[in-house]
Amino acid sequence: MKSFINGNRLSIESFTPQVLLLLIVVLMVLVAWSLASGPIELSLIQSLFSVWDRVWGSDLSSLQQFEQVVVWDLRLPRTILALMVGALLAQCGAVMQGIFRNPLADPGIIGVASGAALGAAIAIVVLPVSIQWFTVPVSSFVGGLITTWLVYGLAKNESGTSVVILLLAGVAISAFGGAIIGFLTYIADDQSLRDLSLWQMGSLASASGWDLLLSGVILLTVMVLFQKQAQALNALLLGESEARHLGIEVEKLKQRFIIITAVGVGIAVSVSGVIGFVGLVVPHLVRMLVGPDHRVLLPLSALLGAALLLLADLGARTWMSPAEMPVGLVTAGLGAPFFMALLFQRRKSLI
């Protein structure tokens, strides 16, 4: 239990191949389960065949037309969006912990997600509806970027970043974001109010083709860029001067990472609202299993993040079926106790 909480490794042995294999199997099972579950009951086999039929034009599932639509137009996009948002959030969390040299940094906790949400909310309420497909993600990214710079500038010190300032900055920014969003709710017209409140709940239900395309492209880009710099991020964990002495151009590297994480978090927030704690919990678990080497940590975090968010979304849609909970509630319900356990363990070293 001790090693579980203080972020140490379970063993110096790296379980990378086993973890990879397990995650792939778990992901496949979860995807099948996600396609099959919902208010309309379909068997696992039928739902899988239904996707197969649609792709290859065959007729193996023998489902009715409306059932086909449910699987293809509702459950499949939602499943894919959950996978991609989960992967994005987990990777951005892992990288943020690396640049902040602090395993407690999480886009939700330190206020970056709130900043992105504020950006998105401004675009939803103030800017014209016709160009929202573009303005919401961009504005969300800008909000996330400004917040990351601000928090980093505030919390930076000799040995990394101050946990206390990180958390307080998170509180302040979330409060500020909440106030402005409240104000926007107050001045919004009926249509924007509906859009805003729907989006705010943090849901994966309304996945449009554009959302999928956008998050898919961003996820791929982010993963490739992160992977290229993974070794440099390892060096940065030693400290900034040490990294510089190893030939890393530290300022450039940090700027690049801050911008990429802001893009990742911004897009995730703009398509699905604020979904907290995935970026905290996932890298933590992966680090315990395989150690902190980012070359391995980043791809495995993407896989586990995808699996975890899909599982959380399954919980959110099936627990009170046919009603649904926002998935953000589920991740917060699981993640917040985890976070408190981390704080409890570190309470002596924090002040």
């Binding site: 490794r9 390892n234 030693l238 002495h245 890393i248 680090r287």
Partner: protein
């Protein structure tokens, strides 16, 4: 001996306070140099000026040149392959294994996997860290961690095409007596047998006398004296710098000892 580091007209200030002002100083290949001075004399500032981390007051001139090339003209990777710094303490808080930390020294190199493993093992053997190669870095003592970083910087310099320069920031501060001597002995061997240049910030003057070829003595940001340890470390100068007057003895083997 060939000159590898030349410092000429270096001055560094923060605001109106002058931290460092050095007219001329050179280091040659194969020299083990002790950098001495009281706290706040400018030792760390000098290190940071040598690595290019701290900018000199006059931007356009190049007060520090390494292998006849201005320090800011070096590409960051090439410089990393030829100049390394052992930090006094590092703030690594993530649970890397010791071997993984040493392997970070490979970052600026171009080594095959086998070559990398060989370099790592070799460096760990030299620094007496092999026995804890599989342990978690964050669980080591301060002295053990410092030796792990020493192994890391040895790996980093292992492919230098020109004679490398190694800067040690208080390499013995966290070590027990036996390890202190082993580390200094290792530095001396690197200098005398492989032609490396090592500059070490030390606090024990006897260690400087026993192991180093040269002493640079700083006093309030200026070079007070440089030369062979026994010539530089006179009673008067020690009294002036540290405010303590030692007695200088000569041991039976001809070694100078300060008490």
């Amino acid at each position: 001996m060939s000159e590898i580091l030349t410092i000429k007209g270096l001055s560094v200030s923060v605001g109106s306070k002058e931290l460092l002002n050095i007219e001329q100083l050179t280091a040659s290949a194969g020299e083990f140099i002790a950098l001495l001075g009281a706290n706040g004399a400018g030792k760390t500032t000098l290190f940071k000026s040598i690595t290019g981390e701290m900018r000199a007051d006059v931007q356009n001139s190049e007060p520090v040149s390494f292998h006849r090339k201005g320090i800011n003209q070096w590409s960051s990777i090439e410089l990393a392959r030829h100049m390394a710094v052992l930090p006094q303490a590092s703030q690594l808080t993530f649970p890397f294994t010791v071997k993984e930390v040493v392997a970070l020294g490979l970052i600026p190199l171009s080594a095959s996997k086998q070559e990398g493993i060989r370099l790592i093992e070799d460096a760990m053997l030299k620094t007496d860290t092999t026995q804890f190669s599989e342990r978690i870095y964050t669980q080591l003592s301060g002295g053990e961690r410092q030796r792990v970083h020493l192994a890391r910087v040895l790996v980093q310099l292992s492919q230098a095409e020109e004679k490398p320069l190694l800067l040690l920031d208080e390499p013995t501060s966290a070590q027990d007596l036996g390890q202190q001597h082993q580390i200094l002995k290792l530095a001396q061997t690197l200098c005398h047998e492989k032609g490396w240049t090592v500059i070490a910030i030390l606090h024990d003057l006897n260690q400087a006398i026993r192991y180093c070829d040269q002493v640079w003595l700083l006093e309030q940001g200026r070079l007070m004296s440089e030369g062979a340890p026994e010539a530089v470390l006179t009673e008067d100068r020690i009294d002036q710098v540290w405010g303590y007057r030692p007695s200088i003895l000569r041991s039976a083997t001809g070694q100078t000892v300060l008490t």
